[in-house]
Structures are given as structure tokens and as C-alpha cells.
């Protein structure tokens, strides 16, 4: 009743005329919400940049870049509720909690909103598809490729991993071993574990250099290990001699690239991730594509993503960072 009275009052005053105008105009646009874990994080600001790029390419698309102040599920649910209320066309979310946000997102889908997750996924019931930045196969291949590309005549490489029980690292190393045949002349001489501790990783890298005087490269598929190994190599005066590579963050690796201890390394590119998420959300919301197992969904300049049985897919190879682009990305994440 109260609602009716207020609506009548508002309409009677005729002050909503301009407001109705703007909302009607907004309806022509497709409104896609990019919901991130928390605002003010460089990685997600970069993803938002990619999202705007996709919107400009698509035309008639408005990006609502939003998220809670801290990385809580409750905060994201409040954001989702307000997006449902606004009747956005699509929500692309990097979730703080795969399960807790699912009920709110289920409600969004019931009200006809396209929901996808990217980066950090949502339980299957709460989204139509999930976009992984990369896949284990692609990462496994990338880490050995990074080392091999700088060793045209072959050579010795060693792996500095996290802990012996780190699931991700173990899978990536396993995938790497599967494709070793594609890189003839490259020999993996040792695998050591720095437990994702800076000092232990540093000592393990020192140990590798002593045990294998002819070592050509250290592969560290962990952001802690790669920085420690690069530091150990630089401190030993072997920068340029031993190439440290693997997975790392541009902000932490800028020094190693500069000193020459690392020629290149890889990690996902947040700009591409935001771009692809918006492209997929747009394709699904406009009905150009359907999220079902086996479907190939277009992502503009990033090609297609093919969905597996859990309707999730991998965007691309990890993005390579070297001296040509490190300055651009080191301030981002």
C-alpha cells in the first residue's frame, strides 16, 4: 500500500519525467555487471579496464564495475541483491566464496539475468558457466616452453616448487612432464621444494646452483619461489647465465627482469580476463551463444572458449611478461 501511495505521489509531482527518460535510454544498452572480490585491488582494476575495452568493441554495452569493500561473501551478496534490483542483463563475478554467493546468484538467474563466474568460480548451481584464466595443461606446457625458448641448443633445467603436497604445483609439473617430448635436448635434472617460504626457496635455489654447475634455467611455478630464486641467482652473480622463469607477479618480478636474472615469466593477464568475461556475458545474454557442455563461446580477440562437462572453460595460455611489457604491468598487480 505504502508503495502505491509513494508511486502515485512521485508520479503526481511529475518529477520522475526526466528520470524515466534516462532509465528508458539505459534499457537500450546491455548492462553487464563485473563483480569483483573487493574494490581497490590492482588485478581487478585491470580486469575492469579489459571489460571497458570489450564494451567499446561491442557497442551499446554499459559496464557496471562493482564489488564489496572487503573480500566477504556477505558484501558480495548485498552487491548482487542491488544488481538484481536494478535488473541488469548479466553478472560476471569473481566470487569470494563459491557456495555462499550461489543462492543469491540462483535468484538472479530466476529473474532472467545471465550469470557467469570468472577467475574464482561459483558452485555449478549458481552460474551458467565459469571462465578459468588458463588450464593445467596450458600452464604445464607454458612453464617448460618459457625455459626452452631461451635454450635453442638444449640444456639443464631444475624445478623449484612450493611444497610436496601443493596440489596446483604438482599437477602443473605432471602436465609439464607429459609434454617434455616436444622439447628435445631439455633435461630436468632436479625438483626441489621451497615450501613457498622466501628464505627456504632462496636456499634451495642456492643449493641447485652448487649441485649443478651447468644449470641453465630454474623453473618456479610459484610466485614466492620465482622471486626467491631470481634473487639467489642475482646474488650469486649468475644473472644472464641462469634464467629463472615460471609463474610470478609482474610487480614482484620487475626487479628480476631488470637485472636479467629472469628473461621472461608467465601469469594470467587480468585485462584479457575482464575482456573475455564481458564478451562471454554479452554473447550469453543476447542469446548468441548457450552455455552447455561442449559449446564454443566467442570471446572477440581472445578466440573461442570451449566448455567442459562442468560448463567451465579455459581462456588462454598464461600471458608472457618480459622486458617489453613489464613496466606496463608492474603497477597493475
Amino acid at each position: 500500500m505504502k508503495r502505491r501511495n509513494f508511486t502515485a505521489l512521485v508520479a503526481g509531482l511529475g518529477l520522475t519525467a526526466s528520470l524515466m527518460g534516462t532509465s528508458a535510454m539505459a534499457q537500450d544498452n546491455m548492462r553487464i555487471a563485473l563483480v569483483v572480490k573487493a574494490l581497490g585491488i590492482g588485478f581487478f582494476e585491470a580486469a575492469a579496464k579489459g571489460a571497458e575495452e570489450a564494451a567499446a568493441e561491442l557497442g551499446n554495452t554499459e559496464i557496471i564495475y562493482t564489488g564489496p569493500t572487503d573480500t566477504t561473501a556477505e558484501g558480495q551478496i548485498e552487491v548482487i541483491n542491488s544488481l538484481i534490483a536494478q535488473g541488469v542483463d548479466a553478472i560476471a563475478i569473481s566470487a569470494n566464496d563459491p557456495d555462499a554467493v550461489a543462492p543469491a546468484l540462483e535468484r538472479a538467474m530466476q529473474r532472467g539475468i545471465t550469470v557467469i563466474s570468472w577467475d574464482s568460480g561459483v558452485a555449478e548451481s549458481g552460474r551458467q558457466m565459469h571462465l578459468n584464466p588458463s588450464s593445467n595443461e596450458l600452464i604445464g606446457n607454458m612453464i617448460i616452453k618459457l625455459a626452452a625458448d631461451n635454450l635453442p641448443d638444449g640444456g639443464q633445467v631444475a624445478i623449484l616448487s612450493a611444497t610436496t603436497t601443493s596440489t596446483n604445483q604438482n599437477i602443473w609439473i605432471e602436465e609439464m612432464q607429459k609434454v617434455m617430448g616436444n622439447y628435445p635436448g631439455i633435461e630436468v635434472v632436479a625438483t626441489v621444494y621451497g615450501d613457498d617460504l622466501a628464505d627456504k626457496s632462496y636456499r634451495e635455489a642456492q643449493g641447485l646452483m652448487q649441485s649443478y654447475p651447468d644449470l641453465d634455467a630454474i623453473i618456479a611455478p610459484t610466485s614466492v619461489g620465482i622471486v626467491a630464486a631470481a634473487q639467489a641467482v642475482a646474488d650469486a652473480g649468475k644473472a644472464g647465465e641462469i634464467n629463472v622463469t615460471g609463474l610470478g607477479l609482474p610487480s614482484e618480478m620487475a626487479g628480476a627482469i631488470e637485472s636479467g636474472a629472469s628473461k621472461s615469466f608467465a601469469i594470467w593477464n587480468p585485462i584479457d580476463l575482464g575482456y573475455s568475461a564481458v564478451m562471454i556475458a554479452h554473447a550469453l545474454a543476447s542469446g548468441e551463444a548457450t552455455a552447455e557442455p561442449g559449446a564454443a563461446i566467442p570471446m572477440g580477440r581472445m578466440g573461442d572458449v570451449t566448455l567442459d562437462d562442468t560448463t567451465s572453460g579455459a581462456m588462454a595460455d598464461p600471458f608472457i611478461y618480459d622486458s617489453t611489457n613489464i613496466d606496463e604491468f608492474k603497477s597493475i598487480f
Binding site: V10, T16, T69, D70, E74, I77, N81, D99
Partner: protein, 331 residues
């Protein structure tokens, strides 16, 4: 008691205001005006605001916090505070999650949630009343303790798999857009309103807040009343934990992080003197609605959360400062 009251003494009027005048000039009336103004402003600012379902969704933003705010209001009026409420939610939710893993059904879960809340409240109350420790220090400590236990139990894992009928508390609707949480919020508001404003126990709370020594010598069992208030705050945290866990469908140790400050803000905005002695339940109810409307209205405009915090802060200072400025101008 503020500094100015201390130095100039309490203002004693020549005659009492008429009941109508007093009511019109009360804090609650001012807040109600603010609430109406925000409601109208929101309706103009966003075309999505005036929608029954959207407004119903908005109530979830404040109803769980408000349930605790009522108990907190009593505690603050009595001159104490409990900053561990959000951590109690985390611990109660973790305990419920653990119970689910052992195959507990919904009635057991409710028992566990309320029981853990009561135990935590009793622990706080014991430390404050038995050992005479300041409640702000005790509850800053137990805030870390309770949430710390959740982190030890869960780490980066989550408890899930709550029974289907358990989801009613956080997601169920009693009638049309009226959610179970909203009904519970209203019910608890009425109960606390009666307890504070219509019972001897309520009078005792005001007496303790104004002058604990005086209250003691008047025959009020001060420690016992305070202990009961800590129990109630723990219990309400347990109730909120049930609603929130049911709404989220999973438990992580970071659940309800930072809620204690929002709850205290709600209580103070509701006109409860942070130093104890005065305040009303209707004030807290309106403050809860005001905060809910502000965050939801700003959310509809996609205002970032940090700006919302600034607005809430400004609102708090504004609403508290205005009547003082008004009083100063009138001399």
C-alpha cells in the same frame, strides 16, 4: 555524560514539556524524518527503488545486524559493550557447520547455534562481572579468541551441506514479500521494547547505566543484570548466526567480518548514549531501517562500498551533532 554536562551540570527545565511536544522533539522523531527523507530521495534517485521485492531484499541488509543491535543497546545503556558479537556469529556458525558434518538435523543445528551463542555470552559476562574486567578489553580479546577458533577449525575450508529445511530461516518468506527474517526482526524488537521500557528489569538497566554504585545500593543486583545482558547479546548473536548461515548456505571463518562496528553504529545512531544511561528500542529500530535504506539506495546507484561507509559515518556524526548544535544555539 558528556564533558559539557559535567562542567555546567544537568539542565533542569522550569516545567516539563507537554507529552506531545516532547514526542515531536525527540530523537526518534528526528530519525524518523531522516528515514522518510532517505526513502523519498531514494525513490527519486533510482527507478528501481520502489518495488516490493527490491525493498524486501533490502531488509536482509539490516535485519540480522539489528537483532544483535537490540541486545547491544541494552548492554550499552547499562554501561557495557560487547565487541565480540561478530566473532560469536563465526564460532556459532562453525559449530553448526561441524554439527552438519556429523549428520545433525535442523532442530539440533538451532540448539547448537543458540547454545554456542549463550556459552560465548556467558564467558564474556563471567570475565566482566566476576573478575571486574572492563568489557571493552574483554570483548576485544574474545573477538580474536572466538574467530580464531573458527580459523583453526576451518582454515581456508568451508562447511556446507546444510539441510534443505534449514534454509528457511534465511531465505524463507512468511507471506508474499514478508521474509521470515523480517518477521523475526519485528518480533525481537517488540520483545526488547517491552523488556526495556515496561519491566523492572528495564528500569534496572537504566539505573545501572546512570549510576552503578547508586543502583547497587538501591538493591539492584548489578553484576547479575549485566551477566544476563551479556547472555542475551550472545543469544542474539546465535540467532543472527542461524539466519546468516541459513542465508549463505555455507560457513567460512570470515563470516560476518566487521559486523560489530556496524551494530554499534546502529545502536548509537538510534540515540543510545555510548556512555550508558539512556536510549530507546524504537530509536534502534528506526536507525536500523535508516542504515538499511542508505546502503541499499546507494547500492542501487552502484556507489562503491567505501563511499557508503563514508556516508554512514557522516550520517552518524550529523545526526548526533545536529541536536547538540541546536541546543547550543538556543543557549
Amino acid at each position: 555524560m558528556s564533558l559539557s554536562e559535567h562542567t555546567t551540570g544537568r539542565h533542569i527545565p522550569d516545567r516539563l514539556r507537554s507529552p506531545l511536544e516532547a514526542r515531536l522533539k525527540s530523537w526518534e522523531s528526528l530519525l524518523l524524518l531522516v528515514a522518510i527523507a532517505i526513502f523519498v530521495a531514494n525513490s527519486f534517485a533510482s527507478p528501481y527503488f520502489l518495488n516490493a521485492w527490491n525493498l524486501s531484499d533490502a531488509t536482509f541488509n539490516f535485519s540480522e545486524k539489528a537483532m544483535i543491535a537490540f541486545a547491544m543497546a541494552l548492554l550499552i545503556i547499562a554501561g557495557e559493550i560487547d565487541l565480540s558479537v561478530a566473532a560469536i556469529i563465526a564460532l556459532a556458525s562453525t559449530a553448526m557447520g561441524a554439527a552438519v558434518q556429523m549428520g545433525a538435523g535442523t532442530p539440533v543445528l538451532i540448539g547448537v547455534g543458540l547454545g554456542v551463542g549463550l556459552l560465548c555470552g556467558a564467558f564474556n559476562g563471567l570475565l566482566v562481572t566476576r573478575f571486574g574486567l572492563p568489557s571493552i578489553v574483554v570483548t576485544i580479546g574474545t573477538m580474536s579468541l572466538f574467530r580464531g577458533i573458527s580459523y583453526i577449525v576451518l582454515g581456508d575450508q568451508a562447511f556446507g551441506g546444510y539441510p534443505v529445511d534449514f534454509t528457511y530461516f534465511g531465505r524463507g518468506y512468511v507471506f508474499w514479500v514478508i521474509s521470515f527474517e523480517l518477521v523475526l526482526f519485528a518480533l525481537i524488537a517488540v520483545i526488547y521494547g517491552i523488556v526495556l521500557h515496561k519491566t523492572n528489569f528495564g528500569r534496572a538497566i537504566y539505573a545501572i547505566g546512570n549510576n552503578p554504585t547508586g543502583a547497587l545500593f538501591s538493591g539492584i543486583r548489578v553484576a547479575r543484570v549485566k551477566f544476563i545482558l551479556f547472555l542475551l547479546t550472545g543469544l542474539m548473536s546465535g540467532v543472527a548466526a542461524i539466519c546468516l548461515t541459513s542465508r549463505l548456505g555455507s560457513t567460512r571463518p570470515s563470516i560476518a567480518f566487521g559486523w560489530e562496528l556496524e551494530i554499534v553504529t546502529m545502536v548509537v545512531l538510534g540515540g543510545v548514549n555510548i556512555l550508558g544511561g539512556s536510549g530507546t528500542i524504537p530509536g534502534v529500530v528506526i536507525a536500523a531501517v535508516v542504515m538499511g535504506l542508505v546502503t541499499f539506495g546507494l547500492g542501487l546507484l552502484n556507489v562503491p562500498g567505501i563511499v557508503m561507509s563514508i556516508v554512514i559515518g557522516a550520517l552518524l556524526i550529523g545526526v548526533i551533532a545536529l541536536p547538540r548544535l541546536w541546543a547550543m544555539r538556543r543557549g
